[in-house]
């Protein structure tokens, strides 16, 4: 029943199971400007993707491209301007329009970037884990502490009774991020939105946190939205990678295919820019110059046109629609280079 919700081409061909979460045409415009000259920051435009059971979907892009906005909309910390969020076949923005229900909050959990800001400094670790268990009535009072210890053990904080008694300031960044993961796990969610979970951690402990996510994905079938600006870690953990630019998803494919055969000029540029010790410093003049367009007055056409080395006339006039490049890995791109041109999606975005 849930499967029928997702258009066939959006389901990943192999590997992960059924689609758990789907977003369709998600759009977020923040109003700015004055009463008489209203403007909008177009933070997110027409974003659609799915996350399946046991699938890690990586979302990469520059800062300000709308990655975090995506996570915040899905976690329903703020309402989208338009679009649909569908969890297990239920269009949650219709059925619970004002605030997310308890069950939605149980199914979709979030891990924030800054483990120093996301834990309350005056409460113990055990308090942080007890609260979700109590609110969501996950266990009886008697089993509360046992469950807390179990969670701490799952995320590798041992001995658990000692960790439970600590305050956040007594822990390192990596340990705190593990607590944040344990807190998300407490309510046994189906989807975890991880917003740059490792970027504030010491480099030597990042892999530990990534490996933990991988393990949770495999053992519990949790689906992750992994938000990052680091392509290498997206490739490491992401089954699928989506590239975002100025609020548009411009390309998505299985991580491996995306990195090996990037189709969109922006993805190609990103790939060429990642430092790669295997290759040495490529002393090639950077091809693209030019600035990222302002999100308030986006030029018509493709937002990347100003920086694109392969820009054509049509790019400055209209936003391309999605072009499917490969069915097997569901590789699609949003670029005029790959034909098909102005689909109906392009016109819908123009209206927004």
């Amino acid at each position: 029943m849930t499967q029928s919700v997702a258009p066939a081409e959006q389901r990943s061909g192999k590997g992960p199971g059924e689609v758990v979460l789907e977003v369709r045409n998600l759009t977020k415009h923040f109003p700015v400007g004055t009463l008489f000259r209203p403007k909008a920051v177009k933070a997110l435009n027409d974003v659609s993707f799915t996350i399946s059971r046991g699938q890690v979907v990586a979302l990469v892009g520059e800062s300000g491209s709308g990655k975090s906005t995506t996570a915040r909309l899905i976690s329903r910390l703020m309402p989208p301007t338009s679009g649909e969020i569908i969890l297990r076949g239920k269009n949650v923005l219709k059925t619970e329009p004002h605030r997310p229900s308890l069950s939605y909050r149980k199914e979709v959990q979030m891990i924030f970037q800054d483990p120093f800001g996301s834990l309350n400094p005056v409460h113990t670790i055990s308090h942080h884990l007890e609260r979700p268990l109590e609110i969501h009535k996950m266990v009886t009072d008697k089993n509360l502490l046992g469950r807390v210890h179990e969670l701490l053990e799952t995320v590798g904080l041992t001995p658990p009774d000692e960790a439970a008694r600590k305050y956040p300031y007594q822990m390192s960044g990596g340990q705190r991020q593990r607590v944040a993961i344990a807190r998300a796990l407490a309510v046994e969610p189906e989807i975890i939105l991880a917003d740059e979970p490792i970027s504030m951690l010491d480099v030597s402990i990042r892999m530990g946190v990534l490996n933990l996510m991988e393990q949770l994905k495999e053992e519990r079938g949790i689906g992750f939205l992994y938000i990052t600006h680091d392509l290498a870690s997206a490739r490491y953990i992401g089954d699928r990678t989506m590239v975002m630019y100025t609020g548009y998803l411009v390309e998505a494919a299985e991580s491996r295919e995306l990195m090996e055969q990037p189709a969109h000029p922006y993805t190609q540029m990103l790939m060429a820019a990642v430092p790669n010790p295997e290759g040495g410093l490529i002393k090639k003049k950077a091809e693209a110059r030019g600035e990222i367009p302002s999100l308030t007055d986006m030029p018509p056409g493709c937002p990347f046109a100003a920086r694109c080395p392969k820009v054509m006339d049509i790019c400055k006039r209209s936003m391309p629609g999605r072009t499917q490049l490969s069915q097997t890995s569901d590789h699609w791109v949003r670029c005029h280079l790959y034909g098909q041109g102005e689909e109906k999606q392009a016109t819908t975005t123009a209206q927004l």
Binding site: D202, S204, I205, L210, N211, A232, R256, L270, A272, L281
Partner: protein, 371 residues
Amino acid sequence: MEKGQSYQPVMSQEIAQPQTQVKGQNQIMSQSQNNTAFPVQTKPLLEVKDLRVEYLSPKGPVRAVDGVSFSIAPGEVLGLAGESGSGKSTIAHALLRVLRPPALITGGEVYFKGKDVLSLAEHELEEFRWQDISMVFQSAMNSLNPVMRIGDQIIDVLVKHKKISKREARLRAGELLDIVNIDKNRLDAYPHELSGGMRQRAVIAIALALNPPMMIMDEPTTALDVVVQKEIMQQIEELKEKMGFSILFITHDMSLMVEFSNRIAIMYAGEIVEMAAAREIFENPLHPYTRGLISSFPPLVGPKRKMAGIPGAPPNMAEPPTGCRFHPRCTQCRPVDKVTRPQLQEVLPGHWLAYHEGMPGINRGQAGQAK
């Protein structure tokens, strides 16, 4: 090297070192300036010996940098890699003598072109900073004055150090922006009117203003996106080739470091644990920490394989572990490592390692030049 005999520790920033040899050193230095065949053959531009920096705290001193020695040749890029808190930035600040209490340089020697940096008086420091070594800080946002126009900030440096008129300084400031690929008209822009990448370029322009023989770059691109990072790093590379300055390049990003540096020193808990040519560090890392650090950066190409990272967490520097400071996190730890501190030694030609006799993976036989 000639100065090796005067090995007395400097007890505070202000205690002066004997000055006698400085002049002779200078002459030697200027002769060898043009010889760019680095790393080892040339006379170093900067020499750091046994540097120690402590932060005073109510619970006793915290030794943030503990006996660090390295040198940088003219035109060379030395990368200083390590995690946050390993002492990288403290070294940078110590070299420029901009540490403020509670941080104190408690020992060691720093020579720049033979000049004893730790004994420079305040007015000499003014000349030394920026003229001899300039610095690019991590966050351009914080190192530019938000209420001053970009041009004025460059002019400030020029007028202060070069004693030229404002008009001349403005012309030169325009040229400097030109060098870093910013339109001259942006001289009158405020920092907030520039993008992050342009701001960082402007900071580099300021660092270049006096054409110094050495620059310290403390995480120059960490706050930037990869595409902009690439542009800036290429720009620095070009400028370096044109102007021939040396760079002390500080970052925690091993991939970028290997790409950009000639030589790399790996720091852990205030000490250098390994130092070698960049490719050597990447292809033949010997220290377990270096290996762990490299395996903390998943590759972008090639087969996908499990990366382990490093177990545990960086140590609390107020109570550093005994012996080898990495031992609580080390998978190859032996009893001797818990007690005695390994010393940095040259185990292969040009490859230095903090190392105990019989360390696994290191064959003394192959270590040709080992002492």
